[in-house]
């Protein structure tokens, strides 16, 4: 058991840091530390250009195999990359759904033709992806898919609605789970579709959020067309592929996420030092608690990654989402309490929030999306602790 990285890894760290220092400047200076949660709608043009700059430097998709344009980077290297990226204030990645979700899923389930056709756009930062998972009214019940797909003249026609889709405006592609078998229920009869966004059958409508901004969208499919060759797997594979995709979500980016958390916590600490609330014993307790929680989050993640070399989802990994979501939500509250009465004052009328206000409000969604805390606790109890599922209700 050891906390430090190897010399090779440290060399790699310097390489990343050097590249970022040389490139995340000039026109990109303005997007440093921007585009994170609560700020995802900002600077989308600049952030798209930044994605391509990253690609030129060979810093997109570094965890992908070399044959698909990646670097085949080790877990350590990926961790280091995400840490340095966050440390340097790298902006929220507009390409992260392609790189982290769509790409790995295509690599795992796609045909060679699909890989050859779709992966380069992700790798090169020229094609962005968004996700069509949740449906209105389904919430955490992901299998409750009502969007339908029917095959007509060799093309799939999709009808239905997805919700909570971020970056839908910016993306060229959306992956969509839809029901291919109209008679099916729950997990069966689903297909996994790769759908072009730029077509008449697709409409994007922003959702106005608690923050007054609209990172998330509703996406409507009205006979949206998906070529037969743009289905991943076969009809009926949708659930299996979708679950595998969710598995890719956990992992190496967590330590980068933590670095962003650290930036936020540091800001809170600076404010507490400046406005005198850092002398308040109760605030001190809470800041120390946040600091402890974040340090532990780091070692949780390192255990999770160290144990994940074999690809299995370890016991500790089931608790990770719940852990960070609650921590982050508490940090948002702490930020407000450290600010005291000044926490209320917004940046500008009518309703432009400060960064910490956005943090406060946005972190309320952390405990909801990607499976609410309640769902997470069910998962922990059932999968990690082997406790029984709730008995199915008797039919009324």
């Amino acid at each position: 058991m050891r906390l430090s990285f190897s010399e090779d890894d440290e060399r790699f760290r310097r390489e990343v840091a050097d590249w970022l220092r040389a490139n995340l400047c000039g026109e990109f200076e303005q997007i440093r530390f921007r585009g994170g949660p609560g700020d995802e709608h900002m600077f989308s043009g600049e952030r798209k250009r930044w994605e391509q700059r990253m690609a030129e430097g060979g810093w997109t998709c570094i965890g992908w195999p070399r044959e698909y344009g990646g670097r085949g980077a080790s877990i350590e290297q990926q961790v280091i990359f995400h840490e340095e990226y966050a440390r340097a204030g790298g902006p929220g990645r507009v390409g992260h759904i392609g790189e982290g979700l769509a790409g790995p899923t295509i690599i795992a389930f796609g045909t060679e033709e699909q890989k050859a056709r779709l992966l380069p756009g992700i790798r090169n930062g020229t094609e962005l992806w968004c996700q069509g998972y949740s449906e209105p009214g389904a919430g955490s019940d992901l299998a409750n898919v009502k969007t339908r797909a029917r095959l007509e003249n060799g093309r799939w026609l999709l009808n239905g609605q997805k919700v909570w889709t971020s970056l839908a405006h910016e993306s060229q592609w959306c992956f969509v789970i839809a029901r291919t078998d109209p008679e099916s229920v729950a997990h069966a009869g689903l297909g996994f579709f790769l759908v072009r966004m730029d077509q008449p059958g697709v409409t994007v409508r922003p959702i106005e959020q608690i923050t007054g901004t609209s990172e998330f969208n509703e996406v409507f499919f009205d006979d949206a067309v998906c070529d037969a060759g743009d289905m991943l797997g076969k009809p009926g594979d949708g659930w299996k592929i979708g679950m595998a995709l969710l598995g890719f979500e956990r992992g190496v980016s967590t330590l980068g996420q933590q670095m962003l958390f650290q930036n936020e916590l540091d800001e809170v600490i600076r404010i507490a030092q400046a406005n005198g609330r850092g002398k308040d014993p109760v605030i001190r307790q809470r800041i120390a608690d946040a600091w402890i929680g974040l340090r532990i989050m780091r070692y949780n993640a390192m255990r999770m990654l160290s144990g994940q070399q074999d690809g299995s989802l370890s016991r500790e990994a089931t608790a990770y989402k719940l852990y960070w979501a609650v921590w982050h939500r508490n940090l948002g509250k702490l930020a407000m309490d450290v600010l005291g009465p000044e926490a209320e004052v917004i940046a500008e009328a009518p309703y432009e929030l400060t960064r910490l206000q956005s943090l406060f409000l946005f972190t309320r969604s952390d405990t909801i999306y990607g499976g609410t805390n309640q769902i997470q606790r069910n998962i922990i109890a059932e999968r990690a602790l082997g406790m029984p599922k709730e008995p199915r209700p008797a039919r009324a």
């Binding site: 959702i207 608690i210 407000m336 009465p341 000044e342 004052v345 009328a349 309320r364 609410t372 805390n373």
Partner: protein, 386 residues
């Protein structure tokens, strides 16, 4: 012992409930909160003229109804339920109370009738950017200059400070500190040297402002003379009364957001059943109810103490303890309930369209306003001789 509303109190409460349900729905709140003033004059006129809420605890001698603070608490609870956007809290629970506790007879006669009939909207300004809610937050100064006083200083977080017609401001003699050397002045908002600016806030349902007083000259009669230049204790009592009212508003909000959440969970289906049938959801709701009920007990108690305090019947320390008790409990309860309601709503709780966020933001704003739970607990600990 009769710890339940009297029939008259019950009637006031129910009338308020009905009136607000009719006139203060989500659309009305959203209309009002989007304005800089933060309230709709028509509604204010009805509240004052038709409902007479502005007169409720003002003595009959000054054009009021002469009822107790329990009645104010009952109203504030209902206003909190509906997120009423109106300068009631500022004009009545700050302004009127300041006059009742610190003004001389002539000053009461001059100002209270207009406040009671709603034609004058008052507020109280005391703390500066330090955000210290007690006398130590007063940094504005006053000096005597012949027949006048000259006031200088900055105030922040002044409720409805940009729209009130009558400003009651706390200032101190230069060089004084703590609770000593405080004077309260009543001055029309258009007095020369007063500048004021809206402070746009995250919670849009209560409006704050900053005030600047630059060489503001007021006649000697502007000094509230019952407490004169030793108004530190009066200021503490005024703030305690305001705190009780705020706590009542919080208790009302905590109850309403529980009701909204329960209604939503009963309607919402997931995994083939209404989510209200899940134990995790039920237990959250149960915790919310326990807190909402306890919050109500706390504010009714504080309302009784405040009624007696206004009648001169209890010690300052008892009023302070009752206010701190209510504020500490209601602050945490409202925020807990609003946060839990947001969680129980899932994704839609995160949208602008649903009302949950309005409660959530109001809960946060109210939590820190007039001192958060930790601050009030510390006051209580000090009062216990710890």
């Amino acid at each position: 012992m009769e710890f339940a509303f009297t029939e008259e109190q019950q009637m006031i409460r129910e009338t308020a409930e009905q009136f607000l349900a009719d006139h203060c729905d989500s659309a009305a709140v959203r209309r009002a909160m989007a304005t800089e003033a933060g309230f709709e004059p028509e509604l204010w006129h009805r509240i004052a003229g038709e409902m007479c809420w502005t007169a409720i605890h003002v003595p009959e001698a000054y054009g009021g109804l002469g009822l107790g603070y329990v009645e104010v608490v009952a109203l504030m609870e209902q206003m909190g339920r509906r997120l009423l956007c109106a300068p009631y809290f500022s004009s009545i629970c700050l302004g009127a109370n300041a006059l009742l506790l610190a003004a001389g007879e002539a000053q009461k006669e001059r100002w209270l009738p207009a406040i009671a009939d709603g034609s004058c909207r008052a507020t109280l300004a005391w703390c500066d950017a330090s955000g210290r809610w007690d006398a130590t937050g007063v940094s504005a100064t006053f000096v005597r200059d012949g027949e006048d006083y000259v006031l200088d200083g900055d105030y922040r977080y002044v409720v409805d400070g940009h729209t009130a017609g009558l400003l009651i401001v706390a200032a101190r003699t230069p060089g004084s500190a703590g609770t000593a050397g405080i004077g309260l002045f009543a001055l029309p908002a258009d007095t020369a040297g007063v500048t004021r600016a809206w402070l746009p806030t995250m919670d849009q349902t209560r409006k704050l402002a900053s005030l600047r007083l630059e060489q503001v000259r007021v006649p000697a009669a502007a000094l509230l003379d019952a407490a004169a230049t030793d108004a530190g204790a009066a200021l503490a009592n005024i703030l305690a009364l305001a705190t009780v009212a705020l706590a009542a508003e919080q208790a009302g909000g905590a109850q309403q957001i529980l009701d909204i959440a329960v209604a939503y969970t009963r309607e919402r289906q997931q995994f083939g059943r209404t989510i209200a049938s899940f134990q995790a959801v039920k237990h959250k709701a149960a915790d919310m109810m326990l807190k909402a009920e306890a919050a109500r007990s706390a504010v009714y108690y504080a309302g009784c103490v405040a009624t007696e305090a206004l009648a001169g019947g209890v010690a300052d320390a008892e009023l302070a303890a009752a206010a701190s008790l209510a504020k500490a409990y209601c602050s945490e309860t409202y925020f807990f309930n609003a946060g839990t309601a947001l969680q129980l709503h899932g994704g839609v709780g995160f949208t602008w369209e649903y009302d949950v966020h309005l409660y959530f933001k109001r809960a946060r704003a109210s939590e820190s306003f007039l001192g958060d739970a930790a601050e009030h607990r510390e006051r209580i600990a000090a009062g216990l001789g710890l």
